[in-house]
Amino acid sequence: MSQMSRRRLITTGLAAVAGASGLAVAARVARRYGLVPPDHGGLYGPGETLTYAAQRLLTTHSLAREFPRSMISKAPFANEADPPTDEFKRHQASGFREWRLVVDGMVDHPLSLSVSDIRSMAFLNQITEVVCEEGWSYVAEWIGTPLSEVLNEAGLHPQVRYIVYRSMEKMGWWESIDMADALHPQTFLTWGMNDGDLPVGFGGPLRLRVPRQLGYKSLKYIVHLTATDSMKGFGKGLGSASPESGYAWYAGI
């Protein structure tokens, strides 16, 4: 074996060992700092993990773009919703007076709030864009109570990592977000839109707006919030119903 090829073999070997241990360390660090999404397994896990980790390093505190009032869309698109259940129709007939938002899981004080309970809490407005994964979008003013207000009232346990939220649509469609988005100042339990009540088509009486993620994370008809430190035991453990039907859990892209 010549001098050159031996040197080359040694450097290649060292580089391979360094690379492998570097990857192992990176994986440990990523897990430690919450940079691994619940749907990190499978064929598309590496890309999804890279995206989520990069976003969490870059965007934890950044604010979604807000627009001037003049840019509010004249013709927003509500998108189609599943036909309302009988239960939803009953709520709609009674003006959503009986609608309850249950807050449970790893909290000091489990809550059951009516829409007017939520409306009487602190509220804010934001003019942000709804962005559908299909490609279309619209800008609207959203009026609501920051999710963090409700979570503070319930008193989150320190180990909480995800907020799971459920809709009355599609037989209980559910999603979850990490604490960076759950405690984000623009994440609203929305009950008003463009100076009026939030129309049913756009998610009324209660929609969770997550403006830094695609529209499918902004579930309509919210009835249930659960604080948890792990997605194990929620469906298939992939974080939400979206990965179970083939869509990414993290939709900030």
């Binding site: 064929l43 598309y44 590496p46 890309g47 999804e48 890279l50 995206t51 976003q55 870059l58 965007t59 950044s62 604010l63 979604a64 773009r65 627009f67 840019m71 869309s73 013709a75 927003p76 698109f77 998108n79 189609e80 864009e129 962005v131 559908c132 994964e133 299909e134 490609g135 279309w136 979008s137 619209y138 800008v139 403006p211 830094r212 993620q213 695609l214 039907s245 083939g246 869509y247 990414a248 900030g252 892209i253």
Partner: protein
């Protein structure tokens, strides 16, 4: 030692030995590996990008756009959503879930491969040596005369087995330094989370829907490059050029097309 094609040299005794050839080094390992990784990433991005477009084959200009608004243009195909009025009365199957996962994973492959290529290319002088126009190529004539030769379908110069002509360099440099950076930028401008951290990225492009429309057009330009690139390879010695990009070595004797 090289034997130019059409050599004046003829052996005194007829032999059955094929004309002598040398195998010259053409592409470095770096160029070959990054070329094929980019090819894999680009094909995946193209297929999944088309799938994503099918869910809303309408394009707009400005910040917002949806089926209640006038499109800039539409692609006349059925959509994979029944909310899009295409006039076909037929809804294609929804492939967006895996398409989106694969699109972003392939985008990572493209970006990481591109970063390695860019850094190594600058470090080793690849851009300066192989892609930057040399002294004889920095005039309009170098471009017009080569274009004329292409249009006449004249066989390539012997030197073109080992180096690029002015038009090739212009094409490769625009893909590497203009189109790929643009397609990455317009793609990132479609990420709501990325836009929250870097709002100027999308604002400079004229809004979200403008960014999406530009992403589509830049992708179309890259597809056009791919088609011309493959046609040129096929017309100018497919086997030799494929061998060059796979093994790194080419024969100096051009194959006859």
């Amino acid at each position: 030692m090289t034997f130019p094609c059409g050599s004046w040299y003829a052996p005194a005794v007829a032999t059955v030995v094929s004309p002598p050839q040398t195998k010259a080094s053409r592409h470095t390992a770096l160029v070959r590996v990054t070329h094929w990784l980019t090819f894999v990433a680009f094909m995946a991005l193209l297929i999944t990008g088309a799938e994503i477009v099918i869910s809303h084959p309408r394009f707009y200009w400005g910040e917002t756009g949806n089926v209640n608004m006038h499109p800039l243009f539409t692609i006349p195909i059925p959509a994979s959503r029944d909310t899009v009025p295409t006039g076909y009365g037929y809804v294609m199957p929804d492939q967006n879930g895996w398409s989106r996962y694969l699109h972003f994973q392939s985008a990572w492959l493209l970006v990481l491969t591109g970063a390695v290529y860019l850094i190594a290319g600058l470090w080793t002088g690849h851009f300066r040596r192989n892609l930057w126009p040399n002294a004889g190529q920095r005039n309009l004539r170098a471009y017009t005369s080569r274009m004329g030769a292409y249009l006449r379908r004249a066989p390539p110069d012997a030197s073109e087995v080992h180096s690029y002509n002015a038009l090739q360099k212009a094409a490769y440099l625009s893909v590497i330094f203009v189109l790929v950076p643009l397609v990455i930028w317009t793609g990132l401008a479609l990420s709501p989370a990325f836009n929250s951290a870097f709002p100027w990225g999308v604002n400079l492009l004229g809004g979200r829907q403008s960014a999406r429309t530009l992403h589509f057009f830049v992708s179309a330009a890259l597809v056009l490059f791919l088609v011309v690139h493959v046609v040129m390879v096929a017309m100018n010695g497919f086997r030799n050029r494929m061998r060059g990009m796979i093994t790194g070595r080419v024969t100096s004797r051009e194959e006859q097309p």
